[in-house]
């Protein structure tokens, strides 16, 4: 479903991604872990083309995201491709001038020309799924962090994406609010959504992941099923990282 | 239609440069004095004496809400009436000083109120009096915090200083008018005067940026 081939990316002199390749199969969940600054966010943002990579190929559902098109043609292409992907950000990025309902229905109505009643009905369904049916007429400022993030997930789901990308979606949240967001993600997992998750929550990673990648300094150090990575890591670098994380 | 002929500007350049000299004198003195006025107004504006505070607010309100030109008229015609016969240049400096003193006072008052109360308490606990605290601790910090805003006011002052030509201060704009009355070439001379203002303005912005970068470091 998602296939990255030899991705390279630098910011000026700073080589952030150094030849990353990975695959995520339909309905599977890939979790990426790694120390701060290792390039996890950059990788995820590249898949959504929020960053332009220097080299390599990104394929999602048989379509090349970084297709060799130019100018307006590429614009059109990328807007279509992005509709197939849902992305959830660390800092929510809800639209503050829209209600919860409008946040969710805006894109489907504008891009898929779905009539209002239908979009509203769909949004209500999604809000139920993220346990926020009672908040549909609130503005984002009236919500807690955990609620905001769940709305952001519903907003991404409203475009009926084929894959979901999560970039540390719980790391801006108070500890007691993390659970409610993780619960929503687990629910998605049980519905066989294809997901790529970057997280610092090792317990959660171990629970939902089909496959785990450990990244450091722009390269994949080690990958495998969660049992293996978490209980019996092969590399010294992975062991040290996990030791640090679990110590705290 | 007369067409344009810029060579006359170069022939009369010394008239313009002479005017520019006075513009610079006018602006430098008015800007320095306006900061003094601003400090005084900011102090009376946060004074414990209600009448003083109210009078300051009323003064600020009137001067903030009226055009500089009107204020210049008041001084130009009004000062002789109360027996003060001043040269146009001095009148111009007074007008610009008060006008921008008011703007700077607003900025400075916000700056003073923005200095943490802890600073005040710490200074008083060392035994400094209210005025010593203000002078040594609060106002220096406030001035530094508001220096970008004061800088913007200075840039505005340079451009607004052209208005004093209307009360016959022989600065850049009036010099251009003098040259025009001899050569009958308004477009060329006003354009040239504009270019000179632009250059001075550019220089001023450059200096202020430098100063700002410096103070930002010591913050």
């Amino acid at each position: 479903m998602i296939s990255l081939k030899d991705i390279w990316k630098s910011f000026g002199d700073n080589q952030v991604l150094k030849g990353i390749s990975l695959e995520v199969e339909r309905g599977k969940i890939l979790v990426i872990i790694g120390p701060s600054g290792s390039g996890k966010s950059t990788l995820l943002r590249s898949i959504n083309h929020l960053e332009t990579i220097d080299r390599g190929e990104i394929w999602v559902d048989g379509v090349q995201v970084n297709a060799p098109l130019k100018g307006r043609k590429f614009e059109k292409h990328i807007n279509r491709v992005r509709q197939e992907m849902g992305m959830v950000f660390q800092h929510f990025n809800l639209f503050p001038h829209m209600t919860v309902m409008e946040n969710i229905t805006m894109a489907p109505m504008l891009l898929k020309k779905i009539p209002r009643e239908k979009a509203d009905a769909q949004a209500r369904g999604l809000l139920e799924k993220v346990d926020l049916a009672d908040k549909m007429n609130c503005y984002p400022v009236q919500l807690s962090g955990g609620q905001k993030q769940r709305v952001a997930i519903a907003r991404a789901l409203a475009m009926e994406p084929k894959v979901m990308l999560f970039d540390e979606v719980t790391s801006a949240l108070d500890p007691e609010l993390i659970g409610e967001v993780n619960k929503v993600m687990k629910r998605l997992a049980s519905e066989h959504m294809t997901m790529l998750i970057v997280t610092h929550e090792m317990r959660f990673a171990a629970e939902v992941a089909d496959h785990v990648i450990f990244m450091a300094d722009g390269v994949i150090i080690e990958e495998g099923p969660p049992e293996e990575i978490f209980s019996n890591p092969a590399h010294e670098r992975t062991r040290r990282f996990l030791f640090e994380v679990f110590k705290s | 239609m007369q067409g344009l002929e810029f060579s006359v500007v170069f022939e009369n350049m010394n008239i313009l440069l002479h005017g520019m000299f006075w513009t610079v004198v006018l602006c430098s003195s008015a800007s320095l004095l306006s900061i003094v006025v601003a400090v005084v107004l900011a102090m009376t504006g946060i004074s414990k004496l209600k009448p003083l505070r109210s009078a300051t607010f009323f003064f600020l309100w009137v001067f903030r809400g009226t055009p500089l030109l009107l204020q210049l008229f008041l001084f130009y015609f009004g000062l002789p009436q109360i027996g003060l016969y001043l040269s146009p240049i001095i009148t111009g400096i007074i007008g610009l000083t008060l006008h921008f003193g008011v703007y700077n006072a607003d900025v400075l008052r916000a700056g003073i109120l923005g200095v943490e109360t802890g600073q005040h308490e710490a200074s008083r606990s060392l035994g400094l009096s209210y005025f010593q605290t203000m002078r040594k601790v609060i106002i220096p910090q406030a001035l530094r915090n508001v220096s970008p805003a004061v800088g913007n006011n200075l840039i505005a002052l340079l451009k607004e200083s052209s208005l004093v030509s209307i009360i016959t201060v022989p600065e850049l704009t009036l010099s251009a008018q003098r040259a025009i009355s001899e050569t009958f070439r308004p477009f060329e001379f006003y354009f040239a005067a504009g270019a000179l203002y632009y250059v001075v303005n550019w220089g001023l912005e450059f200096i202020l940026q430098r100063v700002e970068a410096r103070t930002a470091l010591t913050r």
Partner: protein
Amino acid sequence: MSGRSAGFRFIPGGTTIEETAVDYQLIIKVAPFFAKAAWSTVVVSFLSFALGLSIAFPAAFCRLSQNRFLQIPARVYVSVFRGTPCLIQLFVIYFGGPQIGIQLEPFMAGVLGLGINIGSYMTESIRGAILAVSRGQTEASRSLGLNKFQTMRKVVLPQAAGLMISPLGVNTIALIKGSSLVSAISVLELAYTAHRFTNSTYRPFEMFILASTFYLVIITLTSKAIRNLNGRFAYEK
């Protein structure tokens, strides 16, 4: 010379007067002239405001554009008109215009000069507001598949609108005060009237009180309107 004269003629040396008390009778007598002039100040300001805004929006978008052919002219416009005095700009248009075949009535020249001048400041206000909308907002919108224009229209502009009201309000108040400059090209408005009556009555203080009152009323009402408008956009409450 095109036979145009400046708005002012001065009686040099100033004037003296024995009586120092405020002459209320005089104030009441000339007040109607000031009221009429105040209306003209309002009209000039409003038209310049409209002209300024209609220049500023396209100019702000040009300034933000990646296209050099749009960006550079907008940059030059902002830099030149913010970098030189408004009075000089008015003089170039009114006194210099006829030399290049543009002969405008004082009123037209005044509105044109003020409008172009304030437009350069408004351009920066609008640009600043658009840039102040956080990058995360654009990214979230683009990640949903909205294109640049849809993102601008649905996500960035509605938020920037709220942010630009205050700075545009500051510009507008400055414009109202700055409209007094058109008296120098003999547009009959408040400052011109104040000056004319000062010359004819030798009563500068009374004329200042009168003109100030009208300016303060206009400016206070405008500020109030701006505050109201700002309140409407405060969805973040």
